[in-house]
Amino acid sequence: KAGKPSLALLAEAPTLPLIWELLEEAPVKQQRKPHVLGHPLRYMLELYQRSADTHGHPRENRTIGATMVRLVRPLLNIARPLRGPWHMQTLDFPLRSSRVAYQLVRATVVYRHQLHLNHLHLSCHVEPWVQKSQTYSFLPSRRGSSKPSMLSETWTEMDITQHIQQRLWNHKGRRILRLNFMCQPQKGSKVLELRWHGTSSLDTAFLVLYFNDTHKSVRNIKVLPRDPKEFMNNDSSLLLRRTR
């Protein structure tokens, strides 16, 4: 079947789990590689180089703590007008439906905490977006954050695992993580009219989700006994598992 894309050929063998997985991840047909440059790509390339050698063999001493890491870029970039000294962008991150075999173990948002815009030096932080009617206290913006060694000094990484797991991850349907990216002029800078033009949301923040493959643990789960008596006499962990 000369000329047919190899993935299309593989699609004819839909019973193979790897093929399904590859088809799910791969862009349709032979479309060009999506345009990803700049900090997101650099961040993931460095993460890759830390975790695997040039042949793709995972390093034994890797500290990634996950078998899958997804970098998500924001969908929307809604710039808000001036509100006091603050300038704000609202960033929406699409969260794909959680596949059963993958468990979210960590989520971070990586953002610029220093931004130079129109000759203005800005200090920035990220906060989860909450409806006005809701009262929700989030960790102070820089608490639990660190400078990612994989990026330059103007970038910061903040752990938002708890926020995603508690408020979003178990929701059904389309899930969007909405964050506010807020900046204010650094001390000594004059507040001038500020426009976000020239600074896309992709340049200011991205989301990094860490997953672990639970295929193996699923495979290892014992078959539950059919007899209820046998079930009750068994290990209590079975009871817990069934309850779950």
């Binding site: 790897l18 991840e25 791969a26 032979q30 990803v36 993931m44 870029r73």
Partner: protein, 125 residues
């Protein structure tokens, strides 16, 4: 039991000093993701070394081949009972994973470890 039967089974010619290359063994093999038509979405690595197993399985399956008892019996069945039952095949025994960095259709960048992607040793089974 198999040990006592072994002397009755004639050895193939290569087991008397024939070419060793025909024996079941791991063959290194490298392919690029470009050759597979996947380079439009896989960023790293550029090359993939799946390797492969090739060769004849000996009639007497030695210990190092890690063959299961079933393979030993199937060999005997082929030799002594019914030649329509094939000899065991030379297939991968152990695999190692590969880490891949890719871009999906939405522009997300994904690091992922895929299990069982590189053959590391072979067996007859």
């Amino acid at each position: 039991q198999a040990g006592s039967m072994r002397s009755e089974v004639p050895l193939p010619s290569w087991e008397h000093g024939g070419p060793e290359s025909t024996q079941c063994s791991l063959h290194p093999f490298q392919v690029s993701f470009h050759q597979l038509g996947w380079d439009h979405w896989i960023i790293a690595p550029h090359l993939y070394t799946p390797n492969y197993c090739k060769g004849t399985c000996p009639r007497v399956l030695r210990y190092g081949l890690n063959s299961p008892n079933h393979a030993i019996i199937q060999n005997l069945v082929n030799e002594l009972v019914d030649q329509s039952v094939p000899q065991p095949s030379c297939v991968p025994y152990k695999y190692v994973p590969i880490s891949i960095l890719l871009v999906d259709a939405n522009g997300s960048i994904l690091y992922k470890e895929y299990e069982d992607m590189i053959a590391q040793s072979c067996t007859c089974r």
